[in-house]
């Protein structure tokens, strides 16, 4: 049910046209997305889990999609809102292609468009509950940016959403450099994904890695990483965190 906010003597919620349903909390969510620039382009990575609250409800939700010729999008947060965003972007790209005039929307344009959509929806107090990563290459220019449900947006050489911000970014800050080869970049991404798998309860061991270069988009089939649970820190995880569990 929509929550009601009404002044005693003011116009009713119905009169203001504010009686519609809003997303007050997300239902099915995806966890972190990681993105980084490497020598030839951009790599995006995410697992394919879809959580229903804290239940790991879906195991093969694709959260990385190509947008037009030059861009890749990765999403965490509400899956149905992401599907809605994909619908907007599909329309946008089709309309852009219909001109057939040699101009095309690049990652920068798509990122800015999404920023406007996200910020506009939050101003209607009806946000699209996502953090989106946008990567792409156009005219030899690499682009990597983030936009979230309240319209905060930025560019960086490496980015991560959700738990990834806390667990993957420090690793990326320490180990990322501009001329990583594809193989090195995948290795670094896998290191981050593994840490997330160990520490983020919503993460699952089924990953999608995608790259975009001047040649185009490649989304690799899903695969799993080898895990090792014998670390001494895993023996008694509550140790050193007395009372919190």
């Amino acid at each position: 049910m929509a929550q009601r906010f009404e002044a005693p003597n003011g116009p009713s919620v119905e009169e203001l046209g504010l009686d519609s349903e809003r997303t007050l909390n997300p239902y099915v969510t995806g966890t972190s997305v990681i993105g980084l620039k490497y020598k030839d382009g951009i790599i995006l990575a995410a697992d394919t889990g879809g959580s229903y609250g804290s239940t790991l409800r879906y195991k093969s939700v694709e959260r990385i999609k190509p947008i037009g010729k030059h861009s890749l999008i990765g999403a965490s947060g509400e899956i149905s809102d992401f599907q809605e965003i994909l619908k907007y972007l599909d329309e946008l790209i089709i309309y852009d292609n219909m001109w057939d005039d040699g101009n095309s929307l690049g990652p920068k344009e798509v990122h800015n468009y999404l920023n406007r959509v996200m910020y506009n929806r939050r101003n209607k107090f009806n946000p699209l509950w996502n953090s989106l990563v946008l990567g792409g290459v156009k005219n030899g220019q690499k682009y990597l940016g983030v936009v979230n449900m309240i319209g905060t947006h930025f560019e960086d050489n490496h980015v991560a959403t959700g738990f990834g911000n806390h667990l993957a970014r420090p690793i990326l800050r320490a180990e990322w450099h501009a001329d990583l080869s594809f193989e090195e970049a995948v290795k670094l991404v896998e290191k981050c994904l593994l840490v997330l798998l160990y520490r983020d309860r919503s993460a699952i061991n089924k990953f999608q890695i995608a790259k975009i270069t001047e040649e185009g988009v490649t989304i690799h089939p899903t695969y799993s990483l080898k895990t090792f649970w014998g670390f001494s820190a895993f023996q008694n995880p509550a140790k050193g965190a007395e009372g919190s569990w």
């Binding site: 001109w99 005039d101 095309s104 920068k108």
Partner: protein, 261 residues
């Protein structure tokens, strides 16, 4: 008694398949003072004749900057031209707001043409009495479009509109094949020559013309009067120097157009 029965309404066809009101609007473009445009692969140049309608008044502006990458030159009803320029500016700034990138020229011109076309299909409206030369730059290079009151638009390498524009067109038709690889300065020079053609012998000075440039590393801007006057002077001294040896042989001069020497 023999009044035209089919020209009182924009939306009424004549039996010959013509829309007179639309044709009258296109006539207004021909009566406005001339505007010309030309482009290379990387640059586009617009130029207009700006003459005051009376000794006591100033001339009306005929070149408008739409955005950093697009500008227009107009011929016809200046008031309509300003309305359309405002529309174009709006479209550009809205596009920048949403995409943080410049609006492609061709897409802007389609919107402009659609707006002009609507006026030819509504009984309570009138067509815009203005022709616009839209010059700009986008991903696919420099472009020049002509937009007509009828809602038709065409892309050109070089074009001229307004009064006595035929003389400028004849000049440009002879030269346009070299334009794709021409330098910016060559374009500006030929823009001045084309303007001069429309003046029919009257002296070209910087006070009666406007020249504007947009290019790969140069946002759209109107050249200042001093620069234009210097260009005119340098072109004229060169012309006089070229004319000297021709004057020696009297009998050759007469039947050859000055341009062919």
């Amino acid at each position: 008694m023999f009044r035209n029965q089919y020209d009182t309404d924009v939306t009424t066809w004549s039996p010959a398949g013509r829309l007179f009101q639309v044709e009258y609007a296109m006539e207004a473009v021909k009566q406005g003072s001339a505007a010309i445009g030309l482009r290379s692969a990387t640059h586009a140049v617009l130029a207009t004749v700006n003459k005051a309608s009376s000794e006591l008044s100033s001339a009306q502006r005929k070149v408008f900057k739409v955005d950093d990458h697009i500008g227009v030159a107009i011929a016809g009803l200046t008031a309509d031209g300003r309305v359309l320029s405002r529309y174009l500016r709006n479209e550009c700034i809205n596009h920048s707001f949403v995409y943080e990138s410049p609006l492609p020229v061709g897409r802007l011109v389609v919107r402009l043409a659609d707006k002009a076309q609507v006026c030819t299909q509504r009984s309570w409206k009138r067509p815009y009495g203005v022709g616009l030369l839209v010059a700009g730059l986008d991903e696919s290079g420099a472009h020049l479009y002509y937009n007509c009151p009828s809602g038709n638009y065409f892309e050109y390498q070089a074009f001229a509109i307004g009064s006595r524009s035929q003389a400028a067109k004849t000049f440009l038709e002879r030269k346009f094949e070299a334009y794709p690889n021409a330098s910016r300065d060559e374009l500006v020079k030929d823009a001045l020559f084309a303007i001069k053609e429309t003046l029919q012998g009257e002296k070209l000075t910087s006070s009666i013309c406007t020249v504007a440039v947009v290019g790969a590393d140069e946002p759209f801007h109107v050249l200042d009067q001093k620069t234009i006057q210097e260009l005119i002077d340098s072109v004229e001294t060169r012309e006089e120097a070229a004319a000297e040896p021709g004057a020696m042989q009297e009998d050759q001069g007469q039947d050859v157009a000055p341009m062919d020497i």
